[in-house]
């Protein structure tokens, strides 16, 4: 697929949740196109229904209305909030989980997993168990597990929120580099504005529930590098403030 070609067209997605007492409109009128190789971040207040969009894309949930246009062969890889490694499986076996389920344990895929483990410094931990690894390394294993099935688009659902602040910066940098190096497109949901601006090519800002698109920013950083370095640029501060105002995280000023 050529770079920048549109690979995914999402149009007018709407999602309603039903409970016994009432129905809740979680997402309304959500449309956007994803280009090949692009990294898109979706930010919005906590609990606004951001994750719903990823679940719909991945086929875990059905949209109430709206269309998703994409190539039938387009494959998604889902990375969840916590690493969800299986404690009773070795690191290597954890990485093979997706392949086992999709019956893809052939030489090509196994070689790919081995290559990923080697490239990202986990080869010597292949036979270790998850409890022996640090939070950052576990997250890397979780990414390799997702990459193993060779998805075209990665769906990242608050992938760093279970980590403490310092690890979080390092791991997001790490994950970003891996995604770029493996040439994947990605859609990341987060409530962390800094994370979104420093990693993404485009940031979609959602409103509080029902989530509608408030703004879309092309993040243009001159001299774009890695997320941690991007945070030092003056553009970072500019976008950060714009999005901050959009979301309106303001402290209630007394009564």
């Amino acid at each position: 697929m050529p770079k920048n070609e549109i690979i995914l067209k999402i149009k007018d997605i709407k999602k309603t949740y039903h409970t016994k007492k009432n129905e809740i409109l979680a997402v309304d009128n959500f449309s956007f196109n994803l280009k090949n190789g692009e990294f898109v971040a979706i930010v919005g207040p906590s609990g606004c229904g951001k994750s719903t969009i990823l679940s719909i894309l991945c086929g875990l949930e059905e949209a109430s209305s709206g269309t998703i246009e994409m190539d039938d062969n387009l494959k998604f890889g889902y990375m969840l909030q916590s690493d969800n490694l299986f404690e009773w499986r070795t690191i290597y076996k954890n990485c093979l989980l997706g392949l086992e389920i999709k019956s893809l344990k052939d030489k090509e895929h196994l070689d790919y997993v081995n290559k990923l483990l080697k490239t990202y410094g986990l080869e010597e931990f292949k036979n270790a168990y998850p409890s022996n690894l640090s939070g950052g390394m576990r997250q890397r294993v979780s990414l390799i597990r997702t990459l193993a099935t060779k998805p075209d688009v990665l769906l990242l659902d608050e992938p760093f929120s279970a980590l403490d602040q310092e690890t979080r910066l390092a791991v997001s940098d790490d994950v970003y580099k891996i995604i770029k190096r493996e040439n994947k497109s990605a859609i990341m949901v987060t409530h962390d504005i800094g994370e979104a601006v420093s990693m993404a090519d485009r940031v979609i800002v959602l409103s509080d529930r029902p989530s509608v698109i408030k703004n879309i920013y092309e993040i243009k950083i001159e001299d774009r590098k890695n997320p941690i370095e991007n945070r030092q640029t003056k553009e970072f501060a500019k976008y950060y403030n714009l999005i901050w105002k959009d979301i309106g995280y303001h402290v209630q000023s007394g009564t």
Binding site: C58, G59, L60, F76, G77, Y78, L80, Q81, S82, N84, F86, E87, W88, L97, G98, E100, I101, K102, T149
Partner: protein
């Protein structure tokens, strides 16, 4: 090399542990001694309360006429058979309930009622259906253990981390893949503790069954003893049961340790 402080620390742990064991032994020896002395001085009625020496004598008699190990063997066989059957039936039922949520909602009140029903009340019905034999005893033990196993194992199955299920679903896993890759292995440890409870329940069921119908077994010894007013035999039966129970407990603990490595 350990520091002096660490050596002291280790020594303290060891001393405490020895002390605990010593006190435990002293207590059991004291109980036996007081019991015997009370019997010898006729502070207690030995016809009712028996005495350690008389119990030892009864065990010796049983051993000499060759029935001691026969009775123990029968009870042991019934316990093991019921335990294996009960565990298999319980776990399979729990798996089916996990797979079919609708069914699990339907049977939920019935399980609750069966669980609180005193199973011994089913005794007469069981005897009529299965006859006065080993079959009835095993059925009794199963009634007592299976319901609890089903409820506990099913509860463990449905409280499996939903994020891990979501992860598998994102790989488009089927229900059976979710079961064998996640539900089963992640609950294996919980199940060992359920088995511990189960073994105890099966034991109760078997003795209860032997009280109702039996021609052999430790429960039979106790029942027979009480019917012919041979309280020595009753006490002997109880002591044998206590020894069997502790042996089986340590057997499970042994397996538990083995699987937790």
């Amino acid at each position: 090399m350990y520091s002096l402080e660490h050596k002291k620390f280790l020594k303290k742990i060891k001393t405490t542990s020895i002390l605990v064991h010593t006190v435990q032994i002293v207590i059991i020896v004291a109980i036996i001694a007081v019991w015997q002395i009370a019997a010898d001085n006729e502070w207690i009625n030995t016809f009712i309360y028996s005495s350690p020496r008389a119990i030892l004598g009864t065990i010796g008699d049983l051993y000499q006429d060759g029935t001691l190990f026969h009775h123990i063997g029968v009870t042991f066989y019934e316990v093991i058979l019921s335990f294996i059957l009960g565990t298999i039936i319980g776990v399979v039922t729990a798996s089916i309930l996990w797979r079919f949520k609708f069914l699990s909602r339907v049977v939920d009140p019935y399980l609750t009622i069966l669980n609180s029903l005193p199973k011994v009340s089913l005794g007469p019905v069981i005897i009529i259906i299965a006859g006065a034999g080993v079959k009835s005893i095993i059925l009794m033990a199963l009634f007592i253990s299976v319901i609890v196993t089903v409820i506990n194992v099913h509860q463990a199955f449905i409280s499996t981390d939903s994020n891990k299920i979501k992860l598998l679903e994102s790989f488009k896993a089927t229900k059976s893949q979710i079961f064998f890759k996640l539900i089963w292995p992640s609950n294996f440890r919980n199940m060992v503790s359920t088995f511990k409870v189960n073994l105890g329940l099966v034991f109760i069921g078997v003795i209860m069954g032997e009280f109702l119908v039996s021609k052999a077994g430790v429960g039979y010894l106790i029942m027979y003893g009480s019917q012919v007013f041979n309280l020595n035999l009753v006490m002997t039966g109880i002591i044998i049961l206590a020894i069997m129970a502790s042996l089986m407990y340590y057997l499970i603990v042994f397996f538990e340790h083995k699987y937790q490595k």
